[in-house]
Structures are given as structure tokens and as C-alpha cells.
């Protein structure tokens, strides 16, 4: 049902996808082309220009897949009082919303696969990446856990709507932080050395950078295992936090809407 809903306005759906991808990729292309040309170098950090472009293609697609579509959905249900109907459904509200979010993940995963395949067959995979079936499988696993972590983080923030009138700006803050600290705006390898340990302790890096690095074959098996442990730990902590806020928030909920 959610997939049908997403695809019901096909023109909007595809124009948004292409517009977002082309703008992000186009800006990155010109920015890095200027930097590589000005410096007269083949590599910035460990990235060749083609490698950098592949990263800038993969990162927004991964972000799109992990972050899903609807923003402010849960807080709106609370704000409008429509949450009441879910309280009488014989299914958990969390699971219902998670299932709806999964529909977006599936669609955006298909777009991700399509674009990456096109890049691989037309331009080729740069030599600094060692893409393999194992790296793709590892990356996919990271993306799925990341999508769950993002869902539970955003859902917890949206539950603050039990106390505050409008919380969409908190979700936008989360997106801003994810785009910078998660590696969508820049590969995390380009951050100063002192920042790396800090970045990989926060959840943001595991939403975009870690899955993309794994997918492109930049992550060793040992690093993948430790990364998955960290992201799983964050997911567990955030789920517990969600439950706590949900329990408290329900006592606050009047059901009349505002």
C-alpha cells in the first residue's frame, strides 16, 4: 500500500529523485573538479576524481534509502489526534510505522542499485575500490541496520510531539547532522585526523559513510564486524529510548488533536 502511495504521483516521484541526484552530483562534480585542477593532483586523500564522484553518487542514494520518505509523519499523528486510531488497532504502532518506512527503503534501494549498476557498466569502478559480492552483501546489511537506526532515532524525536506542538525542526536538525557527520556532504576520510575517532563513535557515521565505505570495498572484515557491533548497539539503545518516551508520552496524550 505504501509502495503504491509513493508511486501514485510518478512524475513527482521521478522528478524529485532525478532533481535531487543531479543537483547533488552536479555540485560535487564541479566543486571537486575545481579542487583537483587547482591543486594539479590525481588524488585527494585516498580518492581519485572518479572515485570521489562514485562516492558522491553512492552517498546521497544511501542517505535517501536510509532516511526514507515521510518526515514528520508520527508527530503529525500526535498533533492531529489521529494517533488514537492506532491505539485501538490490534498491531503495535511502532511496527506499523516501521513497515510503512520499509516500503520507502525498498523503493530507494532499487533506485540505488539501478544507478550504481549504470555507473559500474558505463564508467567502471575506480581502482582504489575493491567492490565484490561480499562487499555488496556487507554494505546491504549495513544499510538495513542503518535504515532501522534512522527510523528509531527519528521516531523518538517525533514522539517529543507529545509535549511540544511542532517538532519537525528537530528531525531537520537530525538530517543536517547526518549529512555532515554521516558523510553525505564530504567523505569522512577528509575530516581532520583528530575528528575520525569521534565521528565513528557517534551514530551518524553509521547511517551513510560506513555502509557506503563497506559497499565500495573500503572496509576490512574486522572493521565491518566492529562497525556492525557499534551500529547494533546504537539501534538497541535508541529502541529502548523510544519505548521509554512512548510509554511516558502516552500518559500525556489527550487524543483530541490541536
Amino acid at each position: 500500500m505504501e509502495i503504491r502511495k509513493v508511486l501514485s504521483y510518478r512524475m513527482d516521484f521521478w522528478s524529485q529523485f532525478l532533481g535531487s541526484l543531479l543537483a547533488q552530483f552536479g555540485v560535487a562534480w564541479f566543486l571537486w573538479q575545481a579542487i583537483y585542477t587547482t591543486r594539479g593532483v590525481d588524488h585527494v586523500g585516498a580518492f581519485s576524481f572518479t572515485g570521489m564522484m562514485l562516492y558522491y553518487l553512492a552517498a546521497p542514494l544511501a542517505a535517501r534509502m536510509v532516511q526514507g520518505g515521510e518526515m514528520g509523519d508520527i508527530s503529525e499523528e500526535i498533533y492531529n489526534g489521529t494517533l488514537t486510531r492506532y491505539l485501538v488497532y490490534p498491531v503495535s504502532f511502532f511496527r506499523y510505522k516501521l513497515a510503512a518506512a520499509t516500503a520507502y527503503v525498498c523503493i530507494f534501494a532499487a533506485q540505488f542499485a539501478l544507478v550504481m549498476t549504470l555507473f559500474a557498466f558505463t564508467i567502471g569502478i575506480p581502482s582504489e575500490f575493491s567492490l565484490s559480492p561480499a562487499s555488496v552483501a556487507g554494505g546491504l546489511a549495513c544499510l538495513l541496520v542503518a535504515a532501522y537506526l534512522n527510523f528509531v532515532l527519528v521516531a523518538t524525536l517525533e514522539l517529543i510531539a507529545f509535549w511540544a506542538d511542532n517538532v519537525w525542526s528537530l528531525v531537520v536538525i537530525m538530517r543536517f547532522l547526518t549529512s555532515l557527520l554521516g558523510g553525505a556532504m564530504l567523505p569522512l576520510a577528509l575530516f581532520p585526523d583528530w575528528a575520525h575517532a569521534l565521528l565513528y563513535r557517534m551514530p551518524f557515521a553509521y547511517l551513510i559513510a560506513f555502509p557506503v565505505e563497506t559497499l565500495l570495498g573500503l572496509t576490512s572484515p574486522a572493521r565491518w564486524v566492529s562497525g556492525m557491533l557499534v551500529v547494533t548497539a546504537w539501534a538497541v539503545v535508541c529502541t529502548l529510548l523510544y519505548r521509554l518516551v512512548w510509554e511516558r508520552g502516552q500518559h500525556q496524550y489527550s487524543g483530541v488533536g490541536i
Binding site: 513527482d12 516521484f13 535531487s20 543537483a23 564541479f30 579542487i35 587547482t38 509535549w163 511542532n166 581532520p192
Partner: protein, 262 residues
Amino acid sequence: MWRYLTLYGYCLRFSFSRAMEFRVDFCFRIVMDVFFYFIDIVFFRIIYLHTTTLGGWDENQAMVFVGCFLLLDALDMTVLANNLYQLPQSINRGDLDYHLIRPVSPLFMLSLRDFAANSFVNLLMAFGILGYFLSRYTGPITPGGLILLAGSLCMGFLLRYLMRMLTIIPVFWWHRGQGLQMMFWHMTRFIERPDRIYTGAVRVLLTTVLPFALMASVPVRFFFEPFDPGLFLHVSAVLAAFIVVVAVFWRAGLRAYSSASS
């Protein structure tokens, strides 16, 4: 003119009192924009760890550019964003009727009536950021240069408004123009990088038909570089062309408007 200023004064008063009704949201939005400023500044700081110049600008000059596009964004969020966000819905629901029968320009009311009081705080911050980066700039700063910077930023802001209107007006015919408006937001990324990095056909496109590269970069170029009459004429011509196109397009849209639930 006086009547419009008085009217805008009333709009400001209503907007501030409405914003104060949702105090938590008021604070959240301020914090949200602070994060937006923070990530853009950090982004450019990290970029300059890997290069000494970008689009012909050193780090200090680029940070003035960052201040300029943050200021443009803050102006948009404060003065226009709430209004233009609601405009497509007003067209579809027939709410435009109320504005068409009033003895005041509908475009004025529809574009300016809701002043985002929370973003006003951020507008002050954006001014502060620009002022800070200007104070760190070690080159010569002249009153003439500052006037030129302010004037061309106003032109950039007007251009941004006109571009945005061009993505909204098709709603008169299509009834759903979310894709086009999202496209506008995606394209605003081109404002946030120095114009000289764009080359070839894309550069031509971004300085004429989709003049995103002119909005924040040109004011900074006027400020740092010797005055270029050719560039000034180019921006003025593009601005004039967009004013005419939006005026014609808006009138055509109003003719196609069929009131409630159109």
C-alpha cells in the same frame, strides 16, 4: 507606498504575536537554522584543508561568500518562505479569492503577509556571521564596496524570489507542483558554491536561464574585485527578464484560476 508599508507593519505585528504562541517551536526553529549555518561553515573549513583556493577565492574570501549565501537563505526563510510554502495550497483550495477581492496587490499579500519571527533571530545571526567574516578579511574594505555588496545581495534575493515563483505558478494549471518546487530546493545547492567552479554549458545555464550561480557569488565578486560593468549589466538584464516573465506568467495564471478547488 505608505499604505503598503503600514500594511506590512500590521503583518509583522500579527506574525510576531502568532510565533509567540508556539514558543517551543520558536526555539526549535532557531536551533535548526543554527545547525544549518554550522554545517555550511564546517563544510567550507574542511574543503580548505584540501585546497588553498576555490573558484579563485582564498579561505577568508570564501567565508565571506558563505556569510552571503547564509544571509540570503535567512532573508528567504524570514520574509518569504512561509508565504510561498502556502501559496500552492491557496491556489488549489481557492483561498486566493480572499486576496483577489482586496484593494491591495494580491502578489504583495501572498508573498509577504507571514513574517517568520523565529527566522528573524536567525537573520540577525546571519548578519553577524557575515560581519564576523568581513572583519576577518585582511584586504581593503571600502564603504562603496559594502554598498555594492548590499545592493547586489538585494538583487540576488529578488532573483531567488522570482525563480521560486516560477516553480509555483504552474500550480494554476497542473494543480500539483511539488516536484517542481522540490527541484527548486535541490537547485539551491548551486547557490552555495562559488560561481567560477561551474564551466561550459552548465555555467551558461546557471548564469542565464537558471541563474542560481548569480545570487550569492556575484555580490562577493563585486566586493572583492574591481567593478565589472559587463557583469553588472548581465545581472540587471537577467533580473529584468525574470521580472517580466514572472509578471506575465502570474497574470496568465490568474486568468486560468477558477476559484475554489480549481
